[in-house]
Symmetry: C2
DNA sequence: GTATTTGTGGATACAGCGTACGGCAGCGAG
DNA sequence: CTCGCTGCCGTACGCTGTATCCACAAATAC
């Protein structure tokens, strides 16, 4: 089998999906491809560049989502596509916002977002645009990261209430029982498990409308 | 010198500040403390727990900031303190949002934020609170991460315009010259370098007012 | 005072990582 | 046929986190 950057990135993504970024090593990728570890360096400068490659593959998928009709729909579609991509590739959330995204597809997503927001009536000059893009991206990055982290801890402790109380309980319950964190306790105990997608959408539209000056209905 | 969890965490933070999370190893920490590497395991289960310790030390500093008069001022103070802590300890932004923050000081910060937001007139029930806390934290996490990442790349390429064009230029300029990313190009080339703190503050207040229902002035 | 137990700090060892580098095979030139 | 070069490949190095074992000191039992 002939190697290629795409093939290497694809198997790397598969391994990262299955075992996380920590479980990803050049040796395992090479073994999966049936070659010696050093062969990968014929196609990739170092592990960091391979990561950039993987990231841009995911961005390619996100870029496809930016085809809405109005600027607002396009922004929402990209944000949702980013969230869904991160849920499918949890390692993606680990690097989200943590390195410059300069691959061609990442730039395409950036262009789609920026040009869409530029069409918002509230954006009057480039300073406005810079701020609005920054605010929106910040929210998406943070929200996706939080959600993935929550999903991971939920998975590691067990989803159902009993297992949660049993595993994280001993420490967290003791902490909450000190009475020093009443509001957090209410959030943890009484807080209904809201639908994640709906919560994301709700906050996203609220923030988007806030930064683009739309009056709440 | 007698070891302790605090002392280990302190020197670990010092090393991480100087050389980043990647440059942090138990062996170097131990050498800095003048002990064998294995001694650390008498105070810490593994490296992950040490990281949690370091994170909570930073949260302790953030927690001190939550002493404003009104709920809105308290929220703003905590957000700014988080940003400043991350600028002083850039590795902090690498873990921000990437693991559950359950240390006592992290919980204290969470409690301060949640209880402050709970006092907002727009928050009527616990579902509102959950959403508002989530949205605000998401923005802060994402914004801080973005800013630290930008600072790092700026530092690695050199701050001044010429060095930037020379280092990142060859690739990025070629990309932008394709004409496929006109809006991004405008942002990169024409975009004035806004004051980072002011931009953060502007976006923060916009979002905070958006999610807490305050009408823009 | 001696013998035995206990605990503590240290060194060594192991499996795995990213990647630098030396050697070897094949091939074109003379 | 021989020489030199070019590209491929495995080995090896320095580093990581951490498990395990061992020597020695202190403390307890007789």
């Amino acid at each position: 089998m002939q190697l290629s950057r795409d093939k290497i990135a694809a198997t790397a993504i598969g391994l990262a999906d299955a075992h996380g970024l920590d479980g990803l090593s050049l040796r395992k990728i090479a073994k999966d491809l049936g070659v010696g570890p050093m062969r990968l360096y014929d196609y990739v400068i170092n592990k960091s560049e391979l990561l950039d490659l993987m990231v841009d593959v995911v961005y390619a998928r996100i870029a496809e989502a930016g085809q809405g009709s109005g600027w607002r729909d396009r922004v929402l579609a990209i944000a949702h596509a980013t969230r869904e991509a991160a849920l499918d590739h949890e390692w993606f959330s680990d690097v989200l916002g943590g390195r410059p995204h300069l691959g061609p597809h990442a730039l395409a997503v950036g262009e789609a977002t920026a040009s869409a927001l530029d069409a918002s009536p509230a954006v009057r000059n480039i300073d406005d645009l810079q701020r609005v893009v920054g605010a929106l991206n910040a929210f998406v990055i943070g929200a996706v990261r939080r959600e993935v982290t929550e999903r991971r801890t939920a998975r590691s402790t067990g989803t159902d209430e009993a297992a949660f109380q049993a595993r994280l309980g001993p420490y967290l319950r003791r902490m909450l029982n000190t009475g020093r964190y009443p509001t957090v306790a209410r959030l943890v105990i009484d807080g209904a498990h809201l639908d994640a997608r709906e919560t994301f959408h709700h906050n996203l539209t609220t923030i988007l409308d806030g930064i683009t000056g739309r009056r709440p209905t």
